[in-house]
Subunit: 221 residues, 2 copies
DNA sequence: TAGATTGTTAATCGATTAACAATC
DNA sequence: TAGATTGTTAATCGATTAACAATC
């Protein structure tokens, strides 16, 4: 029971910091470094080394005192822990600028994101190809999902990049075709079954923190 | 001293939640509601009402027992607190898909973001207009900033939507023309003077949390 | 008055940081 | 051996939640 309790209590802030370390580690690998210490990583990001050590510990990897962590081992451990060592088959709904940005950004491919097809409600976009992915009518989402299944894959994730007003109905459709996860960029809270994992990208939250700080700074802290 | 200490200790999570309430409140206003209670807001988002009350308290607004908060008053208080009641003049650098998405999204305009011009290093984009904003060569950023100043405005914010490798040099240029805030979408940590406020949009952090949860769920929690 | 709600103080919870032993 | 580093336990800090008084 201890182990399962521990898994449940994964500190989200640690998970969120792992991609930052991963980027640094891949740079180190490119430079040919074999080992790296928490001290070095921490310095790079202006953090305390003990925090880096705790963060890395959740992946299960361990280092060697006086030496540090093996770069290869650490990269592998972080990727496995995040599920970035396997492909995640996804459908993206909403082929506007934001959808295109995601389709064109190779960084997510490197993290295992494999967008099998894009969908939109706008007929002007049907049949267009964005970075190798065809845009289908949203109506055809069920058929396309069936096709993916026939190829022995499952559509595990839905990426929602439609306007706020359309997001809930799109999410419902994605749940219907059986996605297990939804990555939502629309500024609304989606109502989803409990067994679907769900993550919001809250751009306004980020903008709010920035402008609030800016204004407080302007007016003498 | 108490007051200034309090300002310094603003809980970031509360600031991040304010835009969510604001959206709900604007909906309520559209429906013609005059007052709204924390209980109702909390219900909507599956939170505790006491948390909503604490969050709203940081804006300085107060409600009436048994009644709730006046919708108008609350909207105004949140917008003023976040600095969304005034325009924030900005330059956006990187007119790719992500940059376009931001330029085309009217939500940020509603939050006061006023992108005066866009910049890119790619000559193919020079002179293009995106939602009314002209794309200039990055080289001309200083001249354009001077022009904005001649119009009696200051370029207060830089929005960075360039690839990771270009982000630091772009940030340096933005600091040079005098921005006080940087909103960074590139997946790198920027080295900036202490007096420039800075906010990262960490898309990988969000993706990491999602895929990690998905994989853990797959393997029996 | 009774019930619903705000606002505040205290308790709890979780994440960060400090301290330090273990080890190469 | 000395110094640098990991790994862990304890202390601190901050955010959330509980409890409850005040009020319309």
């Amino acid at each position: 029971m201890k182990a399962s309790a521990r898994i449940r209590n994964l500190p989200t802030p640690s998970v969120q910091r792992l991609p930052v370390y991963l980027r640094l580690l891949k740079e180190a690998r490119r430079r040919g470094d074999d080992v790296v210490s928490c001290t070095r990583i921490a310095e790079e990001f202006g953090q305390l080394s003990v925090q880096v050590r705790k963060d890395l510990a959740i992946t299960g990897v361990s280092g060697r005192p006086k030496v540090g962590y093996r770069v290869d081992e650490l990269i592998e451990a972080i990727e496995r822990f995040l599920g970035w060592n396997v492909k995640t088959t996804a459908f993206l709904v909403g082929a506007g600028n934001l959808g295109r940005a995601i389709l064109n950004y190779e960084g997510f491919v490197e993290h295992g994101l494999d967008v099998a097809a894009a969908f939109d409600a706008n007929p002007a976009l049907f049949g267009q190809t964005i970075n190798g992915r065809v845009v289908y009518p949203l109506d055809q989402i069920a058929e396309r999902a069936a096709e993916v299944r026939r190829q022995g894959r499952a559509v595990e994730m839905g990426v929602v990049t439609v306007p706020a007003r359309a997001a809930q109905s799109v999410a419902d459709k994605l749940v219907e075709i059986g996605v297990r996860a939804i990555w939502n960029y629309a500024p609304v809270r989606l109502d989803l079954p409990d067994d679907v994992v769900y993550e919001d990208v809250k751009l306004s939250a980020s903008f709010a923190v920035l402008t609030n700080r800016l204004r407080r700074r302007d007016s003498g802290q």
